[in-house]
Amino acid sequence: MASIDIAAIHKSYGIHPVLHGIDLAIKDGEFVVLVGPSGCGKSTLLRMIAGLEAVTDGEIRIDGKRVNDLAPKDRDIAMVFQSYALYPHMSVAKNMSYSLRLRKTAKETIASVVARAANKLGLDPLMERRPKALSGGQRQRVAMGRAIVREPKAFLFDEPLSNLDARLREQMRAEIKKLHKDLGATSIYVTHDQIEAMTLADRIVAMHGGIIQQVGSPLDLYDNPANLFVAGFIGSPGMNFFEGRYMLVDGKPVFAPTGGVELALEAPANLSDGSRATLGIRPEHVVLGAEGPETQMAAIDLVEPTGFGIILHLTLGPVSLNAFTLDRRFLNATGTVAVRLPANHLHFFDESGRKV
């Protein structure tokens, strides 16, 4: 187990910059999830930590030791690949023991370590099978078994659940979390799935365009997104945004969406009068069927039942707005509905997209 320090990491392919100065300190035993859309550089960063990609500039330290120029095998890390990357001509047992056999570990030690890992992952009855005779979930377990037998300094996961179906993904997610609790190993997990990020992470690193957008606990990112990107990326259905102008009318705070009706606000925001801004609110925080002076009438365009709750697609003047409710009365709602945007759930972003 070890800490991992990433300092001012840059990566470019030829003249194409991919990562623009990444700084990240990962504590011993921490589970960190790198999340972001495709092409944000999260996998590249992980592969650089693994040693599969060269570092253009900056420094990576594992357990305090600079590893920039070390071969993958000398970094003492283990990696679980999206495609599992199991050796197809080796049995499960051989797959799991390969790294130990390469290190000339004693036969008895290998046998006991592999048996323990197999037991932990429920692979005992499959040890003599070839990977092609296994299901996706079983292959995934073998890939994890191969990683844990070595007791490496850190585990790297590269979208390990992307090839599984939804049900299995849930199950494996829980198993990974349990495994991490058991082993307490430093883990870096790359995913584009925000549910995986939210459920697994001690800390989430949200990335976009080769830059870290925000680092924080899952609820930090949900409650206090640092900027428009994080606000829009975390949460499902996604946050509603209104572009417009923040104003004080007769001393009362008002938000005027571009081309829309002015929204009276319950509390003033940390913005100057007349400045351009974006207002955000999560669909689950929109209050439906409210009464009072701050309510507005919104037209119902579409009703989407998800089973657990209902997503309402609304229009408020010219701007559209999604609302999420657990109240089944809205299942057959038509016409208009009164909505209120409670002040404590409003997020304001300034012109540059930063949260204020």
């Binding site: 993958p72 095998k73 690949f81 199991l86 390969y98 191969r146 070595r150």
Partner: protein
């Protein structure tokens, strides 16, 4: 015809059936014949151009067929095979065939594999090089043979002088006329000519290996040699088996280069079974004896192929 059950009370005369249901009977017949009609053109072609000549050729092995002897053609039983079992030239040709085939296949395979591994790495202009590598394969074999024969000829070719200059040969002689070395001439030409086949098939197999396996292995602690042994070789094994099998059969039958370069000489030192058959049939015009040798070669090659197939099955069942 439908299954007529005599006990079901509905048995009826054939006339009744034909008169009342002619279309059904016709359709049934057409359905039954359809597969044979569809495959007939191909089957007829195969029978006329392959099976008939094969059977004819086999029958020659038991007859006295000499083109220049109008009284030949009679059945001689196993006479040809008795002669063959005493024929020292045949045994020498058999030994030469093993030598020729073994070295040709081995060197073609080794150089082909090295070339494939080099071409698998990305470098500038790889596509062009990959295309160029295939070029020797496109050269007609007798042209390749003539060119190599000239290259080995000290009067017009540079090779003997180079070999002399670097001290491999004591004087710039033609190795094709040296009984000890003559076989290496056609073997070198054959290796040059056959490398592309191995390079291209092995390259295709190499490129089908998932890259992340190599990455996983390098993280697991495998160096380049270990990665080659535990990933590349197992993935290539089926391709290696089938290409080596095919090439062995082709090369042991492949007399073009030998006929062109040495014509079996000097003193039969480069005579392989295939060229010996050629000599017997088209130089001595003794088709009966040539057919007998060909039959023996056929049996040997079939035995070899069956051995490989059985070996492959056994290896697969072990998995």
């Amino acid at each position: 015809m439908q299954n007529g059950n005599p006990d079901d009370g509905f048995t009826c005369s054939p006339q009744w059936r034909i008169s009342t249901r002619p279309t059904a009977a016709k359709k049934h017949l057409a359905d039954a014949l359809a597969p044979y009609l569809y495959s007939a053109p191909a089957l007829i072609l195969i029978v006329t151009v392959m099976l008939v000549p094969l059977v004819l050729g086999i029958s020659y092995a038991f007859r006295d067929i000499q083109l220049l002897n109008p009284f030949s053609g009679g059945f001689v039983g196993l006479d040809h095979f008795r002669t063959l079992s005493q024929d020292q030239n045949f045994y020498r040709a058999l030994r030469n065939t093993l030598w020729w085939t073994g070295w040709s296949v081995l060197l073609q395979f080794v150089f082909g594999l090295i070339l494939a591994l080099l071409l698998d790495k990305p470098f500038f202009g790889r596509a062009i090089v990959q295309a160029l590598v295939f070029l020797p394969w496109a050269v007609p074999s007798f042209l390749a043979g003539l060119n190599w024969a000239w290259l080995f000829n000290p009067v017009v070719g540079p090779l003997p002088h180079w070999l002399f200059a670097v001290g491999i040969m004591s004087e710039p002689n033609n190795i094709l006329s040296d009984p000890q070395l003559a076989m290496w001439g056609p073997i070198i030409a054959n290796v040059w000519w056959g490398i592309p086949f191995f390079a291209v098939t092995l390259l295709a197999a190499l490129q089908a290996i998932p890259r992340d396996l190599y990455e996983a292995a390098s993280i697991d602690g495998a160096g380049p040699v270990q990665r080659f042994i535990s990933i590349t070789l197992p993935f290539l094994a089926p391709t290696i088996a089938i290409t080596v099998l095919l090439r062995t059969v082709w090369i042991s039958n492949f007399a073009d280069l030998i006929i062109v370069m040495t014509n079996g000489g000097p003193a039969d030192r480069t005579q392989i079974v295939a060229s010996y058959i050629f000599t017997q049939a088209f130089k001595r015009l003794d088709f009966g004896y040539a057919s007998a040798i060909a039959l023996v070669l056929l049996v040997l090659l079939i035995t070899y192929s069956m051995l490989i197939v059985v070996l492959r099955q056994w290896l697969l069942s072990k998995d």
